[in-house]
Amino acid sequence: MIGEHLAALQVVVPLMAAPIIVLVRRGAFAWALTMVVSIASLAIALALLVQVREVGVVSYALGSWAPPWGIEYRVDIVNAFVLVLIGLLATIGGPYAWRSFAAEVPEDQHYLGYAMFCLCLAGLLGIAITGDAFNLFVFLEISSLSTYVLIALGRERRALVASYQYLIMGTIGATFYVIGVGLLFLMTGTLNLHDLATRLGDVAHARPVLAALAFVTVGISLKLALFPLHFWLPNAYAYAPSVVSAFLAGTATKVAIYVLLRFYFTVFGKSEIFDSLPTQDIFLVLSVAAMFVASAAAAYQENLKHLLAYSSLGQIGYITLGIALANQAGLTGAIVHLFNHGVTKSALFLLAGCIWFRVHSLRFADLAGLARVMPLTCAGFVVGGLSLIGVPATAGFVTKWYLVLGALETGHWWIVFLPVVSSLIAVWYVWRFVEAAYFREPGPALIGIKEAPPILLLPAYVLVALTVYFGLDTSFTVGTASRAAEVLLGGLR
C-alpha cells in the first residue's frame, strides 16, 4: 500500500511538516518533527533507489491523472541517487541543527527556521523527483524562497544582503527557466519531460526550441552557480547559519545540476537542434574557468566559509566538465562527484560551524594555532580537505579518476591534465588552513577555547567518515553513478 505511494510521500511528508510546525510554534517540537521528516525522507529515497534498481523506472501519476495529462513523478536511477543525497544530508544536519540554531538564531525564530528547512527539503526533493517541467518550476520556487529565508536567519546583518542578492539572481534564473519551458510548451503542447523528449524530434521550427534551450540553460546555470553566473553563492553560503550552509552546499547546486543533466540528456538529447549548438564547447570552457579561476580565488579568501564557497565553485567546474565530456566515464565522474562533493563539502561546512561555535570567527587571522585547542575539528577538516584535493582513499579521488579517464577517451591530451592540475590549487587553499591551524602560535582569540561539543562534532564526523568510506568502497557510489550515466547516455541518439 505505502510502497505504491513512495514517490508522492517523498515530497508530501516534508511539505506537510512545515504548516504543522508553524501551527504548534514550539522550537523543540519543530526540531523533533524535522528530524523525523528528514529520516523518513532518507528512508523513502533509499526504498525508491532499491525499487528503481530492480524495475528501472518508477512512474507515479499524481491524483491518478495519467501522464502526460497529469503531473507525473518519475524516478529512475539518476534522480533516485540525488534523492538519497538530499535525504542523507538532511538527516545528518538534523542533530547538528539543535545546537547550531540555538547559538546562531534568536529563539523565537527557531520554529520558523525549522519550517523553512522542511519546505526547502520538500522543494529540493520535488525538483529531483518530478517529471513535469512546470511542476519543477514550482518546486524550484518553493526551495528558493525558503532558502532566502534560511540564509537571512544568519547572525550578521550581511546575511540579509546576501539573501537579497541571491533572491534577485535566483528569481532571474527561475524566470529564464520558466520562459524556456513556456516556449517548449508552445512548440510541443506538453510539459511532461519524458513526453517533451519524444515530441521535440518532430518540431518543424527550430528557432523557438533553440531559444528555449538557451533560456533553460542560462536559468539553470544561474541556480547551479556555473562560472561566471556564481556571484550570489559565496556570500549566501558564508553568512547563512552553519547548518544551513552545510545543507545548501551539499544539495542546492547539486539539484540544479541534476536538472541540467535531465534537460540536456533526456529532453534535448534526441533533438537535432542540440547538435547545432556548441553547448559542449561552452561548458568545457566555463568548467575550466571555474576549476582554475574560482579555485584560485578560494586561495585568497580571508574567511574560511568564503574559502569553502569558492572551492565549491571550482568543484562544480569538475562536475560540469564531466557533463561536457559526455561519455560514459566522464558522466560517471560528474554524477559521482555530485554525490561525493555534496558529502565532502557538507562535512567541511559542518566543521567550519564547529569552529564558529567556539571561536565566533572564521577569519584566518583568528584561527592561528587552532589545532592545539580543537584537534578533532581540525583533523576532520584536513581529511575533508584531502578529499577536495582528491588524495587516494578519499571520495574526491574517485572523481578525478573518472574525469581523467573520460578525458582520455575524448583523445584530447590537454583536457587530461586539466582536472589534475587544478587539484593542485586545492592543495594550495587547503594548506592555507593547515599552516594556520598547525604552524602558528595560538592568538588571544583562542584563550579558553575548548573542543566543539560532541553533538556538533559527531554529525560532521559521520560525513568525514563517509568521505573516506566512499573513497575506499565505491561499489555504491560508482555503481549507481555509472548506471545513471548509462541511462542518460541511452537518452541520446
Partner: protein
C-alpha cells in the same frame, strides 16, 4: 606463520604500533619500548617471508575493490621483498638511534614523531608489497602525507618552507604525472597489476610508450630524477633520524623501487629494449648523477651534501634499470639495499656530529676524528661504500651495473659511472681526510662521542655495509629473480 598471515602481519604491525605509541604518549619509556618492539616484530614478520619468496612463492592478498576492476591488493615478489627487508631491518637500528638523538637534543612533540614514523613504515610496507599500480599509488601518497609532519617537525618558519617544497614537489608530480600515467595504463591495458614481462604488450605505439614512461619517471618524484629533485634537500630541515631512515632509505627508495617496478613489471624490459623513444631516460639519469654530484661537491652543509649525494645515487638505480640489461637490473635492485645501509650510516654520523659537537658544516670538521673516532670510522666505511671500494656493499652494485652496461655495449653509461666515482671520491674523501689528519681548530669546545644509542646504531649500519659485501647471497638471489636470471 603462514606466508599469508605474515603478509597481513607486516602490513598491520606498524599501524597497530602507531596506535599503541599514540596511547603511550605520556610514558616516554613505554612509548619507546613499543617503538622498538614494533620494529623488531615487523622485521621478524618480513624476514619470515623471505625463504618462501626465495623458493618462488608469491603470497597475495586481495582486500576489496576501490574502483570497478581495481582491487586494493598486495602481492609479494622478490623486489618488494628486498625493499621491505631493507626498510624494516633499518627501522630497528633507526629506532635505537632516534631514542638517543631525540632525547639528547630535547626535541618536542616526540610522541607525534614516533607515531608518524611507524605510520611511514606502514605506508612503506604497503608500497613494497603493492600488487598493482592503484595500491602502490594509494600507499605512495599516504607516505608523502604521513612524512609531512616529520619534515616540518620543528614547526618554525624554515620547517614550514621546507615542508611546502616537499609537499609541493611530491604532490604535484604524483597527481599531475603519475596519476595520469596510471589511468592511461589502465585505459590501454585494462589492468594495473604488476606482472612479469609487463602488461603493456603491444597496446601502445612507440611515441606513446616514451610519453608514458616520462609520466611515470617524472611522476615518481620520490626517485628525485632531475628536475624533480628539489624536495630532497628541502626535506633536510627534518630531524636527522628522519633524514636517515626516510630520506636515505624509505621514501627515496620507495621512489626508485617504484621506478624499477614500473620498468620491469609494467613496461617489461624486453618490450621496450631497443625502443628509441625511451633513450632519453638513461641520458636524464646520467645527467642527474653528474650534476647532483657537482652540487654535492660545492655544498658546505654536511646534510645538504649528503642529500645531493642521495639524488645522485638514486639515479644510479634509475640508470641501471634504464639500461634494460639483465645484469644491470640486478645491480639496480642490489643498489637499493647497498645505498640504504651506506647512506643511513653517513646520516647517522652527521646526526652524531650535530648532537655531540653541534657542527653542521663540512668546513668545521677539521680534526673531529680524534674526538669522535667511532663516528668518523663508520662515516668512512659508508663513504668508501658509496665511492664503490671493496670490501663494501656499494662495490657489488657498481660491479653489476658496469657488467650489464658492458654486456649490452653501452659505453656511455660506463663513462658516466667512472666520472661519478671520481666525483664521489672528491666530495667524500676530503671530509675523511680533514677529520683524521687535520688538527682541530684552536679553542674548539671539548666534546666526546655522541650518546651510546647513537653509537650502537651507526656501528651496526657500518657493519651491515661491510657484511653486505661478504654475505650478498640473499639480496643477490632476489635481484636475479627480478631480472629473470637463473639463481
Amino acid at each position: 606463520m603462514s606466508p599469508l598471515a605474515a603478509l597481513v602481519a607486516a602490513l598491520a604491525i606498524p599501524l597497530i604500533g602507531a596506535l599503541l605509541i599514540a596511547m603511550a604518549g605520556r610514558a616516554p619509556n613505554l612509548r619507546e619500548a613499543i617503538t622498538l618492539l614494533t620494529a623488531v616484530l615487523l622485521f621478524l614478520a618480513v624476514a619470515s617471508l623471505t625463504p618462501h619468496v626465495l623458493a618462488g612463492g608469491r603470497p597475495q592478498l586481495a582486500l576489496f575493490q576501490i574502483l570497478p576492476g581495481l582491487l586494493l591488493a598486495f602481492r609479494i615478489e622478490p623486489l618488494g621483498m628486498l625493499f621491505a627487508l631493507v626498510a624494516s631491518g633499518l627501522w630497528i637500528v633507526n629506532s635505537i638511534y632516534s631514542i638517543g638523538y631525540m632525547r639528547a637534543n630535547r626535541e618536542e612533540h616526540q610522541t607525534r614523531f614516533y607515531v608518524c614514523f611507524a605510520g611511514a613504515l606502514g605506508a612503506t610496507m604497503a608500497i613494497a608489497f603493492a600488487g598493482n599500480l592503484i595500491t602502490l599509488f594509494l600507499a605512495y601518497e599516504a607516505l608523502t602525507l604521513i612524512t609531512y609532519p616529520l619534515v616540518t617537525h620543528h614547526g618554525d618558519e624554515e620547517a614550514k618552507r621546507g615542508g611546502r617544497v616537499y609537499l609541493g614537489y611530491l604532490l604535484t608530480t604524483s597527481i599531475v604525472l603519475l596519476l595520469v600515467g596510471i589511468i592511461f595504463t589502465w585505459n590501454v591495458a585494462g589492468t594495473t597489476d604488476f606482472l612479469p614481462g609487463g602488461i603493456l604488450g603491444d597496446h601502445l605505439g612507440k611515441a606513446a610508450t616514451g610519453g608514458l614512461l616520462a609520466l611515470f619517471m617524472f611522476g615518481i618524484g620520490k626517485a628525485a630524477l632531475m628536475p624533480v629533485h628539489r624536495w630532497l634537500p628541502a626535506a633536510m630541515v627534518a630531524p636527522t633520524p628522519v633524514s636517515a631512515l626516510l630520506h636515505a632509505v624509505a621514501v627515496v627508495k620507495a621512489g626508485v623501487f617504484s621506478v624499477v617496478k614500473v620498468i620491469v613489471y609494467i613496461f617489461g624490459v624486453e618490450n621496450i629494449a631497443g625502443l628509441s623513444s625511451v633513450d632519453w631516460l638513461p641520458f636524464m639519469a646520467s645527467l642527474t648523477i653528474i650534476l647532483a654530484s657537482i652540487i654535492a661537491l660545492r655544498s658546505d652543509n654536511l646534510k645538504r651534501r649528503l642529500a645531493y649525494s642521495t639524488v645522485s645515487q638514486l639515479s644510479y638505480v634509475v640508470l641501471a634499470a634504464a639500461l634494460l640489461a639483465p645484469l644491470s637490473i640486478v645491480g639496480a635492485v642490489f643498489h637499493i639495499a647497498a645505498h640504504a645501509v651506506s647512506k643511513i650510516t653517513l646520516f647517522f654520523a652527521a646526526g652524531a656530529i650535530y648532537t655531540a659537537a653541534h657542527k653542521t658544516e663540512v668546513s668545521q670538521l677539521d680534526g673531529i676524528g680524534r674526538r669522535m673516532p667511532v663516528t668518523m670510522a663508520a662515516f668512512t666505511v659508508g663513504a668508501l661504500s658509496l665511492i664503490g671500494i671493496p670490501p663494501a656493499a656499494g662495490f657489488v652494485s657498481k660491479w653489476y651495473i658496469v657488467s650489464g652496461a658492458a654486456a649490452s655495449g653501452q659505453i656511455g653509461a660506463i663513462i658516466v659511472l667512472v666520472v661519478s666515482t671520481l666525483l664521489n671520491a672528491a666530495y667524500f674523501l676530503p671530509i675523511v681526510y680533514a677529520a683524521f689528519f687535520r688538527p682541530p681548530p684552536a679553542g674548539d669546545a671539548a666534546h666526546g662521542e655522541a650518546p651510546i644509542p647513537i653509537l650502537i646504531a651507526l656501528v651496526a649500519t657500518a657493519a651491515m655495509t661491510v657484511a653486505l659485501f661478504f654475505f650478498a647471497d640473499v639480496p643477490l638471489q632476489l635481484a636475479r629473480q627480478v631480472a629473470g636470471l637463473p639463481d
